[in-house]
Symmetry: C2
Subunit: 254 residues, 2 copies
């Protein structure tokens, strides 16, 4: 296994090839969904034009929500071991298609020593590009994500904005039942409830919406929405693809 320092040296080689490392398995289906989002974010007419990706989908990671509640072991060591596999495989950048895993982002980033993109930074940057500096950004996410303050505590350099959250009532009546309906396959009911939640945020002054949960974008799209919206993991996929394409271009320009 490499050390952090060796990872840094290896990463510059991985970067020159534009290899994106996906630290997945949390869970495995979300990992596959993220790979789909990367494909959709790539302008490619042939296999060879798609970006190179290495994936570590090792689901044997202690439950993130339980750990955050203090009811289970920390997932950090398992996440670090999985990230280390990506370093060994030559990744030049690491991304995690899982909201809750980001509660350990800073510790993981420091220990791994590879460049990483933070889901919230990327989603917020896209939302501010849509709504402008100083905007109120609505956030739709699970109670657990909201309670963890994952989005609210993340500061973005030079960004002037304000998070706008669903009220306790809206969470209980619209957001959580909407997400549950999508998980249960009742997309029509999920769309109705989540659209009402988006509408409520719009009426309180939100100028763009961040969707911080993978179920919500399955029923809320740019067409049906009252506001411009950013699917956080899709934004992460777009930014990872853009990084890889830029690396490839830079390598060709040398």
């Amino acid at each position: 296994m490499n050390t952090t320092l060796e990872n840094k040296a290896g990463a510059s080689l991985g970067a020159s090839l534009g290899i994106v490392g996906v630290l997945g398995g949390m869970g495995p289906l979300a990992t596959i969904d993220f790979m789909h989002k990367m494909l959709r974010a790539t302008p490619a007419a042939s296999d060879q034009e798609h970006v190179p990706v290495v994936v570590s989908s090792i689901p044997q990671v202690p439950d993130r929500t339980a750990a955050w509640r203090g009811e289970g072991a920390s997932p950090l060591a398992a996440m670090l071991a999985s990230g280390q596999r990506l370093a060994e495989a030559g990744a030049g950048l690491v991304v995690m298609p899982c909201n809750t895993a980001h509660l350990w982002f800073d510790e993981l980033h420091a220990a791994l020593g590879l460049p990483m993109l933070h889901l919230v930074d990327v989603a917020l940057a896209e939302a501010l590009a849509l709504a402008g500096q100083g905007a109120r950004i609505g956030l739709l996410a699970t109670d657990a994500t909201l309670a963890s303050a994952l989005y609210q505590q993340r500061e973005l350099a030079h960004a002037d904005f304000q998070w706008l959250l669903p009220t306790v009532q809206e969470r209980a009546d619209l957001v959580m039942p909407g997400i549950a309906a999508v998980k249960a396959g009742d997309l029509a009911r999920g769309a109705t409830l989540l659209n009402q939640a988006a509408e409520a945020l719009a009426q309180r002054g939100a100028q763009a919406l961040v969707l911080g949960c993978t179920e919500i974008p399955l029923v809320l799209g740019p067409v049906s929405s009252p506001l411009p919206m950013v699917d956080a993991t899709a934004a992460l996929a777009r930014r990872a693809v853009a990084w890889s394409l830029a690396q490839r271009e830079a390598a060709l320009a040398v």
Copy 2:
């Protein structure tokens, strides 16, 4: 980078964890489809019960069909480099969810020094388990796959069977137009044509069918088919999952 010998040593560690290495990117969508098939092949009620997978989806591999025709560079070096990433990431077994890539299987296997499963061996073993020794096994695949003799030349130890191929007429009238219809999204027409091709093989005495092309199982299923059938890449996914679960069980038993 490891040597072949180091890969063998590393593989025994990877094997003890049951980590499946997917040598993908040929193409990226087929890789994602294969990961889905692995999920569906796994009896799991939680993330943690899914099998650990590392994926190298590096699509910058010279075109396999062009190389086989003698019209392009060999993909072997790029495939080996990609397989090497899986070795570095700790894979204990390597599989390739791409028919054409298997034309370089033996060379890759020898150079990589990791255990690998051959798509045709696995599909054929499942078909013989369904149809019995001595059976005639029908094969539906593209003209390119049939012309390469990938399936026909593969011998399985102790297996007594006979491949039964579509006639030139059936390939031109049913199989190739059926696959093209599926690729174009006309699933109803694809189903009709490919069912007719399956029916023709059944009438000539096929006792089971191997589907050696990822498009065919999208419209031909066990229900609609006149014969028991094996989707070759799904069989590979099932066997890879079974390998991983057996490794985990063996490690727990120690």
